[in-house]
Symmetry: C2
Subunit: 385 residues, 2 copies
């Protein structure tokens, strides 16, 4: 096991009907900015429930945070916080709204250029406004970690950052909030949580037995619930397991004491920034190709993954690895997410464009061994055509 | 999944050589009371390392906290904190020292009778001194939760309590600290962590898939590492997995959103209080008998446990349950811990004595369904003879 520090002070309040607990979770004297995305938070009644729980408090609102929240859009929220002297943020939505809220929490109290918060990967963040979240979309895990990604539209840059000051004080996870999600978003959530897990698991053996078992348990859970998650939107147990599994996949626990990869994410971010492909879909494109190209480096863990998650125990090592990768690809396809660049209308030109962006963003040493060079990324993208 | 709140702000610093981080973890201006147990902390060099990391600080010391820390002993530490106006506690040891430190943290700033802290099960605790821990014995999980047990020797009472104010600020987990432990204590730790897990897992199905997988993963890990944990005291990977698994077994995570039992612990506490049997050994006596007596109530989870942890898939339901219980008993025996009351020189008189204590302590409705009456406890104890 590698040395590690683990710290996660976010309080999780989980279950149907828990939005009312906002009245005790948000300090009474707080001057709140409620941040949300599109019309769905209004239409589903979530915003109404939130407003009711905070009735009588000072609550301002900022809507319109888009998927892959943009630096440009978030300027408006920062200005509003400063103009109204607000001191507490409440994100109502999925990972994009929560990520955007983290950016606002740090940037609103930062004295320099707001983009520094992201471009420094959070290093300049010395403090942040306190914030909580009401989660509506299980996927990114942002509700229980201190990381975020914002996009600068002007330069097609998706920039991850994190800071110990950016844990939500609390997150309310009510699985019924997910009942009205489009099937496509549920499928994206399944794949997002799955790949968050593999980024912290499919590396090289570090003799971290509980972490491996936990990661495998999350992958097994996601595979087990996927059919009903798509087919039965109001199955409470299924949606509960999806919501909690997605949080557990990226709350720091399964990644503590083990090597981490994240090359799939970094390559995927460029696909989103260039072609506006949903984040999870970029992961479904990149991961199977990456596992194929990196099969030697990841051999031991791929065999373990095949055996424990998919029950693959017969055949030569190469056959078992092939089967494990194929089952992964088939799983993504089974939830309706295509796994080839061609499925998104992209060809060789995309390979070149993504490589140019990776180079421009300093992404020439990716992966758990920092040996996913641009040439390796090229091989991965070629295999994903 | 049941509704739940999960909150755990303890920072874990894990790995060989991490004791030096005390210098940044303990506030510079803190007036520290360092609490420890017997001579081993001195002999192994742990205390020397701690003192070196805190050189130049105000550090007082209180040694002599015994296994099953007593209210009577801890009075001395409370008096010392008050006399020297100390404001930060540092536990160096295993679960007993950390539990005792939690009691001191709460009682030293409580205005009434110190025993109220325990007898109210923590309800009277409105605040506590901040404290950290340097763990030397993987077993109880106290280093990453807000619960503790203290014993009032005068009345043979083991009293559990907990409070949101009693999470350690940090815990340092250095697996090499466990190298010098007697084999008996390592065996106790394996069984303690195992039964902490089953108390939160072997109940009735709650459709909490990640929690089940995590619990099974911890049980599998403990079974897998047990032989080398006993035979190879300086195997870093094995001791790392034992230490981290024991913390994960009782940090609140696998118990969030699921029913919990704890009858084995409550019955076991009486055995310790009456006959001074090591805590883990009482669990090894009670659990197999409890599973046998409660087999109908726990049927579904016993079958799942048998299949997933022990690979038992052949035979009738009764046969599979018998096999799962037998594997559990054999596991405890395999680490050198006897599982019958007779092995500890106890017979029918102990059954009566424990029942009288359970009744005196209001323990007549135990278990995940609150239907472990005194008569059920009698059946369990009879089966454990």
């Amino acid at each position: 096991m590698l040395n590690f520090e683990y710290y996660n002070p976010t309080k999780i309040v989980f279950g149907a009907g828990t939005t009312a607990t906002l009245s005790r979770l948000v300090p009474e004297t707080a001057r709140v900015l409620l941040l949300y995305g599109g019309a769905s938070a209004e239409k589903t009644g979530t915003l109404a429930d939130v407003r009711a729980a905070l009735a009588g408090r000072v609550v301002h609102e900022f809507g319109g945070i888009e998927p892959n929240p943009s630096f440009e859009t978030l300027q408006g929220a920062i200005a509003q916080v400063r103009a109204e002297r607000l001191d507490y943020l409440l994100a109502v939505g999925g990972g994009s709204v929560i990520d955007g809220t983290k950016f606002v929490a740090a940037a609103a109290v930062y004295d320099g250029d707001a983009w520094d918060v992201a471009s420094s990967r959070g290093a300049v963040v010395q403090r942040a406004l306190p914030f909580g979240a009401v989660l509506t979309l299980p996927a990114t895990g942002s509700e229980m970690n201190n990381g975020a990604v914002v996009t600068r539209k002007a330069t097609h840059t998706k920039q991850p950052f994190r800071s110990e000051h950016l844990f939500p004080k609390f997150s309310i996870l009510d699985p019924t909030r997910s009942y009205t999600l489009p099937v496509k978003q549920v499928a994206n959530g399944l794949v997002d949580a799955f790949v968050h897990t593999t980024e912290q698991y499919l590396t090289y053996p570090a003799q971290a037995l509980p972490q491996d078992r936990f990661a495998e348990g999350l992958l097994q859970t996601l595979v087990e619930i996927a059919p009903r998650a798509l087919a039965a939107p109001d199955d409470y147990d299924t949606r509960s397991n999806l919501m909690w599994a997605a949080s557990l996949a990226l709350n720091g626990l399964i990644g503590a004491g083990v090597p981490q990869d994240w090359a799939t994410h970094m390559i995927g971010h460029e696909l989103t920034a260039l072609y506006n492909i949903d984040h999870a879909r970029t992961l479904a494109i990149v991961l199977p190709a990456l596992l194929h190209v990196r099969r030697d480096s990841k051999r031991d863990k791929l065999l373990q993954y095949g055996a424990r998650v998919w029950g693959i125990t017969a055949g030569s090592e190469e056959e078992r690895i092939d089967a494990a990768i194929e089952r992964t690809r088939t799983f993504f396809e089974s939830v309706g997410i295509p796994t080839r660049l061609a499925d998104y209308g992209l060809g060789q030109e995309a390979v070149e464009a993504v490589l140019a962006q990776l180079e421009a963003h300093g992404m020439s040493k990716l992966g758990e061994r920092r040996d996913v060079t641009l040439e390796v990324s090229r091989a991965i993208l070629q295999h994903a055509l």
